[in-house]
């Protein structure tokens, strides 16, 4: 399976990435390559740089890349704006999806979807056509139509916010989705709905990076690779059994690994 995937070009290449915010170094040489069809999991303690890595790939303006490159579909995207990255197919699912009071969820989804469609040279959708499309995608995350008339994420429960993220992913059809702790704050049923949604959306042409603390999401979506991050670096990479080992032994085990190396 692995060799078949690697017959094609990588979707994302992070090469020896160093980044900082307010002159504080956060990433200290991260390298990661994702090929089409691959699912990667990144695990690690709080503050090890997992979320920062996801934000930097998405283009957060508060972080500076001090060294290294991010390549998407072979092109260096270090200097691209967040919207340019999103339009070209990079999706970031937020750990804490932002509430935007006063902006209707439906309109927000439509504007976002049309921005991506425009990039793909597809016809932009009017309100009626978009309603049809969104109705179909709502099924994937088992969301009620009523959520569309609310303001973006406002008054949503933790689980509803995460489902709304996956709905956005379904509409935007990204080439790569980085899902930052999508499993946090979800009960067992919601976790299954979200996981099943992710599986339905992903395919042999897309890549997924799951950032998580727990094995429970990885029980639902089995990753091809598991990376352990510590202090702004990927300190160990393995297959899905690495996550099980980490669950069993805890992060202290990775501390020992750092000492040994």
């Amino acid at each position: 399976m692995q060799s078949k995937m690697k017959e094609s070009d990588p979707i994302l290449e992070v090469e020896n990435l160093y980044a900082s915010t307010d002159n504080l170094p956060i990433l200290k040489g991260v390298s990661l390559t994702v090929y089409p069809g691959e699912i990667h999991a990144i695990m690690g303690r709080n503050g090890c740089g997992k979320s920062t890595l996801s934000k930097i790939i998405a283009g957060h303006p508060s972080y500076n890349i001090t060294n290294g490159d991010i390549k998407f579909l072979g092109e260096n995207i270090n200097s691209l704006e967040p919207e340019e990255r999103a339009q070209s197919g990079i999706f970031l699912g937020f750990q804490y999806p932002i509430e935007i009071p006063g902006v209707s969820n439906l309109e927000f989804l439509r504007v976002s979807t049309n921005a991506r469609r425009k990039f793909l040279n597809k016809e932009e959708l009017d309100t009626f056509d978009f309603e049809e499309l969104v109705k179909e995608k709502l099924e994937i995350v088992k969301m009620d139509h009523a959520f569309l008339s609310r303001s973006v994420n406002q008054g949503f429960s933790g689980g509803e916010k995460k489902r709304n993220e996956i709905l956005q992913m379904a509409l935007l059809e990204p080439k790569i989705a980085i899902l930052d702790e999508t499993d946090s704050g979800l009960d067992i049923d919601a976790l299954r709905i979200v996981a099943s949604g992710i599986k339905k959306i992903s395919n042999a042409q897309t890549g997924i990076i799951l950032i998580t603390h727990y094995q429970r999401l990885l029980d639902e979506i089995e990753p091809h690779y598991v990376h352990v991050m510590s202090d702004g670096q990927i300190i160990k990479t393995g297959e899905s059994d690495l996550a099980l080992e980490l669950e069993k032994k805890g992060y202290e085990w990775t501390d020992n690994f750092i000492k040994e190396n």
Binding site: E81, P82, E83, F94, I100, P101, G102, V103, S112, A115
Partner: protein
Amino acid sequence: MKIIEKIKTNKSIDNQTEIQKICLDKLQSTPLPNLKSEQWRLSNKSKLSDFLDYSVNEKDPKFDTPFPKTSQSTIRLVIGENCQINLIKENFAIKQLSEDQLVKYIKEQISCFDQNENWSDLLNLSLNCAKNTLGLKISGSEIPPIEIFSHASSNTLNAKTLVICLEKDCDIDLLQVNLGKDNSSLSQSTFFFLEENSSLNHGVVSYGENKSNLLNSLNVIQQKNSEYNLGSLHYKFSYARFEIRIKQSEGNAKTNIKGMQISKKDEQISTYTKIDFNGPNGFLDQINKSLADDKSHAIFEGSIIVPKIAQKTNASQLSRNLLLSNLTQIDTKPQLEIIADDVKCKHGATISQLNEEELFYMRTRGITLTEASKLQLSSYFQEIISFIPVSKDRWDLLDILLNEN
């Protein structure tokens, strides 16, 4: 003194009305407001002087409104344009106040005026003749929405006065539109009297053009069990000053205010409010939002007065301000004066910039920074705009106007 001379020498005011004479007399002693007083100290002196610089005009300027009339049932009145109405239907009546009634009512108001605080009203009433004054008495229910327009013409100073008495149990939606023109000044004074159990949903939309100025004064007296809801929007004036004075004369009344002011370039737009609780169980929920860009200056000064008699008052006043440029100036001062000891009152002010995390979230969905900022601004407006009693079509128009910003 220049303004007094101007009024006195104005040929069109040969026959001064009784009200004009009273107000002119008062203005003789204070031709200008005390610019060191709390109410006027932040007012841009040169802009106030520009306001007074135009010659007084009493002729009807050509009325050219972008507000479409969408509903047959809406009653539209334009102050100054031979504005006559006498509508008596099965469920309601809208009658014009007679001149005697009007004079009596305004004289009562003047007797309570504070020379400095009500300077805008004194100026308005001394400039204004009967033709530019509209007085209405409204009663009944199922009343169609009413729109009242006041407008200025270029290179002149125009004064319009509106007096409305709502009788017991009356319930209306009223949209007041103040339109400025190129190089003009508009003085608008409004007086509402809400009898017991009456309810008024009042919208004020004021927008100007290049170098237009506005002094907009609103005086409301609420009897018990009345409800007054105000949604207002002021923008595109070189100088605009919105003064709101509300008195819950016996307490037991409800007031909701949601105001918005937008300033750009070197404009100065200010809102001054004074809410006076003169009885127990009064309620106020007020939010004033300002959006200030470029070198503009936005001002909010609010005071809530709760004397001993106003026990169990529940009042909240919040000033929210959005800074879009580092050259902008914002002054905000929500204040409480509380003597009563059994009340629930709160006030607060925030000054912030566009929310970076909201912007980033939208950008990660492919929405450009410009579009994301627009969406964020429109969400900032929405709470206020949706409170203005206007129909959907007018909503679209407001959207277009706001998007020009």
